[in-house]
Amino acid sequence: MPGKLKAKIVAGRHLPIMDRASDLTDAFVEVKFGNTTFKTDVYPKSLNPQWNSEWFKFEVDDEDLQDEPLQITVLDHDTYSANDAIGKVYIDIDPLLCSEAATVISGWLPIYDTIHGIRGEINVLVKVDLFNDLNRFRQSSCGVKFFCTTSIPRCYRAVMVHGFVEELVVNEDPEYQWIDRIRTPRASNEARQRLIFLMSGELQRKIGLKVLEMGGNAVVGYLQCFDLEGESGLVVRAIGTACTLEKISSTLPATATHPSNSSPSKDMKDSPQAAPSTLGCRSTHSSPVHSASSRLSQGFSVSVPTLLFAGMGSGGSAGKEAGPLKALLRQQTQSALEQREYPFFPLTAFPPGFLLHVGGVVSARSVKLLDRIHNPDEPETRDAWWEEIRQEIKSHAKALGCQAVVGYSESTSICEEVCILSASGTAAILSSRFMQDGPLDTEHRFEEVVSPGCGFCHIPYDELNIPFPAQLTYCYCCRRYKVPDVLFTTIDLPTEANVTGKGCLIQARLCRTKKKAQGEGNATVISNLLPFLEYELHTQLMNKLKLRGMNALFGLRIQISIGETMLLGLASATGVYLTALPSPGGIQIAGKTPSDITYEQHISNMQKKINDTIAKNKELYEINPPEVVEEIIGSPIPEPRQRSRLFRSQSESSDEVSELDLSHGKKDAFVLEIDDTDAVEDIHALLTDFPTPAGFYSCNTEIMPGIQNWTSAIQMFTSVRVFRLNASLTSQGLNKIFSDLCENLLKSLYFKLRSMVPCCLCHLNFTVAIPEDELIQVAVTAVAMSFDKEQLLENGKQSGEKTLIKAITENDEQLQFNLELNAETPSPNPLSSPKGLSEVGSHLSARALSVDYSSFADRCSSWIEQLKLKAHTIRRGSVKTTSSMEKASPLPEGRSRSLRSNRSYSGSSVAVVKMTPLSFIPGAKIIKYLGIINMFFIRETTSLREEGGVSGFLHTFIAEVFAMVRAHVAALGGNAVVSYSMKECVFMENPNKNQAQCLINVSGDAVIFVRESELESTSVQTQSATTHTSNGAEGT
């Protein structure tokens, strides 16, 4: 009996009128967990009932605690007929299961009905008493922390990065079960919501098990996705990076002695894995190693050859040897990574020194035919599919001379029975110092040589054996290693990178018609089209990149969507000018038939236009690469060829000032042949891109190079557009429409957010879909952040991002120190699990047990915290104080409370909750992560016109989803959601029947942040307080 869940229903407000006669409601509440249900009394005739119920107690397995949501149903009592449901609240209690996350859920939560939307609010209190049964830890993985953030969370330090974790569970979709024909839409929606809740919980628990097995205590970059395969079922899958994280506290030395505990994973293997869950959904996988022998039961499967988007140019070049050090390094890290089946990391930002070299983007796609998942217990086909793709990615990375893939993500697009599985990432070489093998001295020496600003640009592959045509030059920063001419990546711009000027969002958009087909024929058609689509997207990206005078792409995300009669491709990335890379050549237009004079004229006009645009863009994005003259004197240029090249570009740009930057060597110029109709289109596409209005910048990465002084004004938003194509169009016509759709959407965003100027739209995340034939849906989620224009004014008040970066580097210093320690202690596992606890000292665990049973706050204490606790109590000169730790008022808790009370004074009784897709909040410090928010909602209507048509319906729904996310975060005690994303927004309509349905899935990390200004003012007091209370704080 490892857990007791307690819930108390306090009150309701703003309830809908359920009894027309009295204009009132007789409300009562059902509280359900698993198969146990409790009821409150009926509170008669009120729209603001005060139930003030007793504590409802559920005694449950921790496995169920992880899988099941707490389900609260508000009903209207009716003496004569059946009670009417007002709505429901699902509460994910997972945040309460982790010692470092939230301790209580308390607050007003919206009551939600899938037909009517939000119908009032309910005030609840939920707590969990978790008993640490030390012999358990079999099926449950309580205590593993989950983060959606794709970097090391701000108040943690990465002790170890273990690697890739993945899992998927499948089930039948209730919407497609026979029973759906006879039940109400509400019942069907609720069955679906509940099932997905259960599946998410189960998935998370299983991932957690894998993490524990690997010796980690957290998952970073947790990405969970749904595949609504229709008739064939429902797949929930997730990937993440297993890490061992440690909370950064001011009392550092506690970590100095690492326990040499025996690995808990060993015990894990001995334990029986069987115990099938009592829930509807199952998956066979309990270990990260898959049986490779799983046969494909599918009739059809096509793997699509994919391009390596690494760099591009017109030929290779000979150069200096990369040096033996690099080879040595590769060998060492190779061995560390080769032990892993998939050396993949869904992270997009890394602790400094982790990312050594970046090869380029690797991606793989495959087209599959879906058929019904016959046995949900054996989702082997789905697993085998992903395994294929991952193998392909792995081999692509190898071809680039890399052992790891970072910024890794997986996605699907489904149309009828055809499914495209896609995976992409960035091939890279990583430092082994975060890996289990432990750091090596040689590597450290090697790293010292490389400057952090350009090191990651240096090619990881053997230049004599380049896997693709690339033009290599010596790094423009250090002049010692080779760099490619263009670099594409899926990761965020490393904070330490040297960048010239500012960046901008670059999108390639493509729409292709295809014939209607069925089954295998359809799959063949699609798989034949895919390579062309990818090639064209790549060309467009490259053109647009050059048009902006930039040489690298970050955060590249290519989405391909399939419909009955068309394919959509959308590639988004943030273009920057990396100082280390050579200046890009211009774009040159050439005609094949130079006889005609008017034609020549036409070409030169176009050429001029392009040149003008490039020049304008360079000015706009402040791209003035530093002149290389001094460097030529200062740094050793080893090769004459290189020198001549440099001289040329330099001399030309100084001699012919009027001649625009095409002058960067005709040799480098990207030639477009105008006779090619595709090229004409490309050029048009290039020139029709709408320039961002003055005062605006945009990117799809976390931060914008060149902008640092963010103000605290942020605005997260979601915008959705659906476009109907009425006529049969050519591919070109479609292309134009699709491109205009995206451009117009951006224009609207700029207009909407004009009051925030100067501002930057960060993390612009576009998703496209073809919900129906002739419909294109584009959804954007991003955050607009204002910044101070005057860089000079910034001196006095330190801006948010700058201090954040500073904080990171400070952490890094601590981290380095810690790493050295790590190197000395052979066992790299300071795993903070109660498992470890039992093995270290009986006196400690015995005490911990008593604490666990007596005090809720100290449940699930980790070994390190116990140590600190002990130190703390000793310092206090009393051993009995453990249970009184609660009274010691844990600092973050105390602060959050005071924050909330402050807010309530400001006139509004509703706490403000910030939301952002980024991992940080400008001008603020995240002091606590409360757990992940992962919510799934369905909304349906049969009175579409009355609700304001499709736009009115979706507008309300999205606003409601935001409101529910905010309310749940506030109930956890948080004041912000970071790394927020809307991963699914499936919209279906039937205007003839006046009906519409929409599914939305959102996720993020609930956090408590404190404004830096507040922090500074109180820092003196808290500093001293922290040393005393932080220990206690972590115990809660």
Partner: protein, 361 residues
């Protein structure tokens, strides 16, 4: 090819004040776009008409979603659907409410004193044509009146305070609504041609006087009392004032006292002297009749006909009127046989300030 769906939802709700006003004024989306284009917002932000249309539709939808809450402004403070800008939530919400409940003086003049019934609502299109205010806006204003009326009708305690608390309105607006509710409840006639020259603010002022002095709540501070109805007991007592005109001695005595006081202080002394009996009869008759609900309705028209018009035709200035009414009121207290001092003061205090307010062109 058409945009089938187009929404924008921010974590903090973006509301453009200008568009809000256009929406309140009942402009259609297309008309609002035209107004905005003329306003020059496009040049300012490099936008196109298309963008403006999308933005306007979006804003209109937001306002419509918000309207439900604006009907119960107290809910706006603890609703969860909209998150307003964290720094200035009270300001922004107050602005939303204030503007939503704001009304046009020309509109309110049309419905002031009318029963807030379905019948009146049906006639709103006439009002709309007459005033040039869009029907939509007329309906909103009318519904606001009706909503406030319904809520405060059943509440105990001071009227203005009730309105302010329930609808979170600023003081002045709450007073105006109190006037509207008071007029609607007592069905004062305000539409007659002779009253056309009076503005809503004139009536609101008078309503304030009546509420503060003539209702039950005015004398009694017990919570049970209501501000909406006139004090019946007081109206009954007003009948006693008739003695001032029925008793010939008293009337003459009153006249001579007033004339003595006024002599040499005004240019229209002769007219005053000549008209004294007429004017006095007028005012006292109004008082005596107020016990009948029907005559209450004619209160303002009576004031104009019986007092203001005669004075005006004799070219009294408002200083003259003030002077006259002051002495007229005070002199009555010196009369030997006149015993109803309290009622007289209560009556004449209001009459004097109402007449002074209404005495203009």
């Amino acid at each position: 090819m058409s945009v089938e769906l187009d929404v924008f939802v921010g974590n903090t709700t973006i509301m453009d004040k200008e568009v809000y006003q256009l929406w309140l004024n009942g402009y259609t989306v297309n008309d609002a776009v035209k107004v905005r284009i003329e306003g020059g917002v496009m040049e300012e932000c490099e936008a196109s008409a298309e963008v403006l249309l999308s933005d306007t539709m979006d804003q209109y939808r937001t306002f419509q979603m918000c309207e439900r809450l604006l009907h119960h402004p107290a809910k706006l403070a603890n609703q969860l659907l909209f998150q307003f800008h964290p720094q200035i939530p009270p300001d922004r919400q107050a602005m939303l409410i204030e503007r939503y409940y704001a009304f046009d003086d020309s509109f309110v003049r049309e419905v002031l004193g009318k029963k807030l019934s379905k019948g009146t609502k049906k006639d709103l299109d006439d009002v709309s044509t007459k005033t040039g205010i869009t029907l939509k806006s007329c309906r909103r204003q009318f519904d606001n009146f009706k909503r406030v009326f319904k809520v405060v009708e059943e509440l105990k305690g001071p009227l203005v305070e009730n309105i302010r608390q329930h609808f979170l309105l600023p003081d002045q607006l709450a007073r105006d609504y109190a006037a509207i509710v008071f007029f609607a409840n007592n069905r004062f006639e305000t539409g007659k041609k002779k009253l056309h020259y009076l503005t809503f603010q004139d009536f609101a002022f008078c309503a304030g006087q009546l509420i503060n002095n003539w209702t039950l709540g005015a004398v009694d501070n017990i919570m049970d009392d209501m501000d909406v109805d006139l004090d019946k007991e007081f109206l009954q007592e007003l009948k006693d004032l008739k003695i001032l005109i029925t008793d010939k001695d008293l009337l003459d005595q009153h006249k001579s006292l007033v004339c003595t006081a006024l002599r040499g202080k005004t240019n229209v002394f002769n007219e005053m002297e000549a008209n004294f009996k007429n004017l006095s009869r007028g005012l006292v008759n109004i008082a005596a009749k107020l016990i009948n609900a029907k005559d209450v309705r004619d209160f303002f028209i009576d004031l104009v006909e019986k007092f203001i018009e005669p004075c005006r035709s004799d070219k009294w200035t408002s200083i003259d009127v003030n002077l006259y009414l002051t002495h007229y009121t005070n002199s009555a207290h010196i009369l030997d046989t006149f015993k109803h001092h309290a009622v007289w003061t209560r009556y004449m205090g209001v009459i004097k300030s109402c007449i002074l307010r209404m005495y203009h062109d």
